[in-house]
């Protein structure tokens, strides 16, 4: 490992290099007082440099000594982990199906306005298939045109993540980051009510021991577990995402110290402030990708799903204008999964635009008074079968 990779300040690095220290091993035997004299820095500063250097060397040697690289995980273990992960249902069975069961935790999913409805099909159906709900990490981006149902899908996910374990849910809490002011608390209440009704119905059909599993949840309880942050500028957005690390550590589950209670972070929308305050597009890209990395980190550390909602813009390609998700091409690399919501004829469809593990597919969904559900026509199809 070389000196330039050490996380120290530029001037210290410059001094080290000009004094002839280019590799970590050259620092291994020197004492701090010698180094201080040679670099003309204070003794404490020299000690600090040596501490950083020995720390980096430590991680390097342990890598070499272990047959398995530290921090790595074999593909077999990963498979095992993923299978144990739970999914968050979208309340739309069709949508869950194309998503491989629901929204995975530990991944970041971007949902365009057109893909939201996939997630919404009936909770009932979801419980049987347990498609979306997983304790794995999903980073998902959802995008779509205005009015397609992005916010609705975001609210639905924030509610569904709270379905208790007995019903095949995660029993977690949700963080809802609202940059546009479009979160409607009345709507969240409606969706929560419908979700509880669905659960009791499921109970009645599938469980004989009705009394035991009686649902004690109230819509108020669901609303209480949604942490709502209202963001008014991109600075606040970045600050909040930096701060979430601390917030999540403070809100950890008592019983399962490893998992945080918060299972999903919904950002509605990731785009809004970044589309207006920036003149320097290169800076915007850097700030955005830094933010995405932090979110990805949160998803991994706390085993939660991150759902980003994105807006749609028009893009000129091959002499024609097409709809595209906002924030440009480099941004599209950051998300693990990307779902686009769109109109197809008279129905809303969700399309998997990008995913490392799922086939590209689309499914119809509908937005009803009770939230996001399977589209009515596909429900009929299922009944006929």
């Amino acid at each position: 490992m070389e000196i330039w990779r050490l996380p120290i300040s530029a001037s210290q690095r410059g001094k080290l290099i000009s004094a002839g220290y280019t590799s970590l091993s050259s620092l291994s035997s020197i004492s701090s007082s010698d180094l201080a004299r040679e670099l003309k820095v204070s003794e404490s500063e020299a000690m600090n440099i040596l501490k950083v250097a020995s720390h980096s060397r430590g991680s390097e040697t342990s890598n070499a000594s272990c047959s398995i690289v530290e921090g790595a995980q074999s593909a077999w273990d990963m498979l095992h982990d993923e299978e144990s992960l739970m999914h968050i249902t979208t309340s739309s069975a069709d949508l869950d199906n194309i998503l491989g069961g629901g929204i995975h935790c530990k991944e970041v999913t971007e949902i365009g306005w057109s893909s939201l409805s996939l997630i919404v099909n009936s909770v009932l159906k979801y419980k049987l298939t347990t498609a979306f709900g997983s304790e794995s990490i999903i980073f998902m981006l959802i995008g779509g045109v205005p009015g397609i149902g992005k916010t609705q899908l975001g609210i639905q996910i924030a509610v569904n993540v709270q379905i208790p374990n007995d019903f095949g849910g995660l029993g977690g809490k949700a963080i809802y980051i609202d940059t546009e002011g479009s979160f409607m608390v009345e709507r969240a209440f409606q969706i929560a009510e419908a979700c509880i009704e669905d659960m009791s119905e499921y109970n009645r059909f599938l469980r004989k021991d009705f009394q035991e599993c009686k649902i004690k949840m109230l819509p108020q309880d669901i609303l209480e577990n949604i942490f709502y942050f209202r963001i008014c500028s991109y600075t606040e957005q970045i600050a909040l995402i930096n701060y979430l690390d601390k917030f999540l550590s403070e809100h950890k589950d008592v019983d399962m110290s490893l998992w945080s209670q918060v299972k999903v972070i919904v950002v509605d929308s990731v785009t809004f402030h970044f589309r207006q305050d920036f003149d320097d597009m290169a800076l915007r890209t850097r700030v955005l990708s830094g933010m995405a990395l932090k979110l990805m980190n949160l998803a991994k550390r706390f085993s939660l799903a991150v759902i980003l909602l994105n807006q749609v813009t028009t893009k000129h390609t091959e002499a024609s204008f097409q709809l595209a998700l906002a924030l440009g091409d480099s941004w599209s690399h950051t998300c693990t999964n990307r779902i686009v919501l769109y109109w197809n004829g008279n129905e809303r469809y969700a399309y998997i635009d990008k995913s490392p593990s799922l086939r590209s597919a689309s499914a119809a969904y509908s937005v009803t008074a009770r939230g996001i559900r399977n589209s009515s026509s596909s429900c009929k199809r299922i009944k006929m079968m």
Partner: protein, 392 residues
């Protein structure tokens, strides 16, 4: 909070000095840079940068609320549960009580369909005392197209609430609460918006109407990136205005013809059609909203006013809480009113289409003793002549 000074955040003295020496004085400056850029610029190690950033972030990040406390707060502090009834029963039911407080509600439709009429009615309603279903406060009406007619306003008042408007003092009081601004340029509009922000809370302003947003922006800029820039400032300003004063904001938007380059499909949709028989999208309507997709993302509720086979409809085209319903309406001397309170559910993207076909009845009002006439004037139904006998 974005412009919070770093010197006010209790960072360790040494690092705080480094920040000020490099001219990074606000949280915004610090958070706009990546960690590595900061390391280079400040000439300090990664751990110091990280701990400084996390301290700054913690202070700048807004506090959270649970959705429950949000709801309780709304119900406690807000009259009518945060919705302002429009007086159109079917529409109010669909919108869970009326026009929501704190967000933008947009009216979009072809010229002469009744957008201004709707705005007039709403301003009038908002000025009424609460026992008449009003908000009992002032209304700021930004009239860009010079279409505001106080005669028409009073006529609507007289017809809908004769018991108030037959008393001259009351009529004067109500009309006195509606303040009309007529900016002639975008710069002037921007200036008055900034003034409004200051006076909203002090002066019991209960509603803001902007008629129309499109006229301002399309008047000064060509379509394209430049226009998007100006527009985005206004979008975020008006949104924050609505939110912090918690009042309903109603904005109208014009329509324009669909350009051949207006995109309505994603690239994957085009690709999937390549193998199949090319079926070009059939548009039954050639009209689209004048302000583009970015604006459409910003409005929370969009109501489309359209004319189809001789009837006018008002449609709930975008709303987080309402189903896609269409209501037939007409405009009478008492203002806009629904022909039926039962909305017809509209399937699919049809809800967003704006039709202007079939001639809607131009002369809606029967000319009576009060001498009301409507004339067709270059596509607009403009009320040009009223008898104001009721007031005299």
């Amino acid at each position: 909070m974005a412009n919070k000074l770093i010197s006010e955040i209790r960072l360790p003295k040494s690092i705080a000095n480094v920040f000020s020496a490099r001219n990074i004085s606000t949280a915004k400056d610090a958070l706009s840079l990546t960690e590595f850029e900061l390391m280079e610029l400040l000439d300090v190690g990664l751990t110091e940068v990280r701990s400084a950033l996390s301290q700054i972030s913690e202070i700048v990040a807004p506090p959270y609320q649970t959705a429950l406390s949000l709801m309780e707060q709304r119900f406690q502090n807000e009259h009518l549960g945060g919705h302002f009834p429009t007086g159109l029963k079917g529409l109010d039911a669909a919108l869970c009580g009326g026009i929501p407080f704190g967000v933008l509600t947009e009216l979009v439709g072809p010229a002469g369909i009744g957008k201004t009429q709707f705005c007039l009615k709403l301003s009038l309603l908002a000025s009424l005392p609460t026992n008449y279903g009003g908000l009992d406060g002032r209304v700021i009406y930004i009239d860009v197209e010079s279409k505001f007619s106080s005669r028409r306003l009073l006529e609507i008042g007289l017809r809908s609430f004769p018991e108030i408007f037959q008393m001259k003092e009351m009529a004067q009081e109500m009309a006195g609460r509606i303040l009309v601004l007529r900016p002639t340029s975008l710069a002037e509009f921007t200036q008055s918006l900034e003034q409004i922000k200051v006076s909203l809370l002090q002066n019991q302003v209960k509603m803001l109407v902007i008629d129309s947003m499109a006229a301002l922006v399309s008047g000064e800029h060509e379509q394209g990136a430049r226009r998007q820039q100006t527009l985005s400032w206004h979008i975020s300003f008006i949104k924050s205005l609505a939110e912090f004063s918690r009042i309903p904001v109603v904005v109208t938007n014009q329509v324009r013809s669909r350009n051949h380059d207006d995109a309505s499909r994603y690239s994957f949709q085009v690709q999937s059609r390549d193998g199949a028989i090319e079926t070009p999208m059939q548009y039954d309507s050639h009209l689209v909203a004048a302000l583009g997709i970015q604006w459409a993302h910003a409005v929370t509720t969009r109501l489309v006013l359209e004319a189809k086979s001789g009837e006018r409809f008002i449609k709930v085209a975008k709303s987080p809480i309402s189903p896609p319903l269409a209501f037939p309406f007409h405009i009478t001397s008492s203002g806009i009113s629904l022909l039926s309170d039962d909305g017809k559910e509209v399937m699919g993207p049809e809800i967003n289409a704006i039709h202007c076909q079939g001639s809607f009845p131009q002369t809606l009002l029967i000319v009576t003793g009060t001498c009301v006439a409507m004339a067709k004037n270059a596509g607009h139904n403009e009320i040009i002549n009223f008898g104001m006998e009721g007031l005299h």
